[in-house]
Symmetry: C3
């Protein structure tokens, strides 16, 4: 049984939905030693979030931005918290709707994602800056070296 934990930084991204699967995998090479387990990916912010979705068409990620801007609008008449910019309160709401972590099974040294699944980093602020993540990998190591690919 192992527990591996790392804190990493994501480069600043423009507001929107961004694929970060390979960036995350590259930061935790210990994945390859785990036969079965779970990777927990956590974002230490309240105006950005993480989710899993389609890793192929950029139009899907654009439509995520379009839809979330409709469903959680700026300048809603019922917002009382408006001192940090019109993108701030919607960013908090979007972050909780999508969530601040994803948990992904690890099998035979790899993330056990479906063919079309990728990790989205969701930047809800106009200028969010670099964002901090905590990766926690738990699982059972393989007894043999065959998992070290």
């Amino acid at each position: 049984m192992v527990f591996v934990q790392k804190e990493i930084k994501l480069r600043p991204c423009r507001r929107g939905f961004h694929l970060v699967t390979s960036e995350i995998i590259s930061q935790i090479p210990e994945l390859r030693t785990i036969q079965k387990g779970v990777l927990h990916v956590f974002i230490k912010h309240t105006s950005a979030s993480l989710t899993l979705n389609e890793n192929a068409y950029p139009t899907v990620r654009e439509d995520f931005e379009n839809h979330f801007n409709e469903m959680v609008p700026e300048h809603a008449p019922y917002y009382g918290h408006d001192t940090e910019g019109s993108d701030d309160m919607p960013a908090h709401l979007k972050a909780s709707i999508l969530g601040s972590s994803v948990s992904i099974p690890v099998t035979d040294g790899r993330l056990n994602l479906g063919t079309w699944q990728g990790i989205y980093f969701c930047e809800h602020r106009n200028d969010g800056g670099a964002r901090e993540l905590v990766l926690t990998l738990s699982g059972e190591e393989s007894g043999s070296s065959k998992w070290i690919k």
Copy 2:
């Protein structure tokens, strides 16, 4: 400490919200050996999802379908990704709003759910086909046979 992992398939379901608690429990009999732990249930798709909600009235699950169809409509004028059918882009959005996994505490050999909680499989496509799940159970085994009910 144990880590048990299984890949299972759910039978094809019509678009909507479906109770799958007993189907999932029956696929992982090792649950009965765990005194305290967590079961992670993960769906390997981007147009179907998992959530926990009311296990009693079918009208609740029907209203989930009704509400999500309002909150995430087909044919929204701002969708750019429309080549895979009008149910496709809403399915991706619904999947991320609800999430691709649920984590449930395991106590004394059982899922430690509330009286009214059940696992919903949420099929967001009109013809989603069979869907693949990964179950990962981690926890501490009981030292005695009393947990083997």
Copy 3:
């Protein structure tokens, strides 16, 4: 490797979003012995939920209530499940949108939250009563006493 599990009750709260970070931490002093791990916080109900968001301004939590009441209205014409009060079906929907658990990394004996992150208990019913949570802490203990702060 340790697995610690506790069932706790939250005092009844009025409908709305409530900060419960310190209440939860105080219920699981074993946190201080964990060098790296994850705390899973689970709510055993289908009309209340948990999320992480801004721990500073009360107006943020008020706007959560305002926005969720718009996005998931009472008396929607498409609800079929209306026998338990007009706040019941929206409560179920809000609970699944926000989720029934949060998982938080634990590092050096503390929850590894961002500066502005806190745990929200989200009461979606008008009279929800006391709510039950299950806390499951898993991780690696420190070999030394320096973690016992």
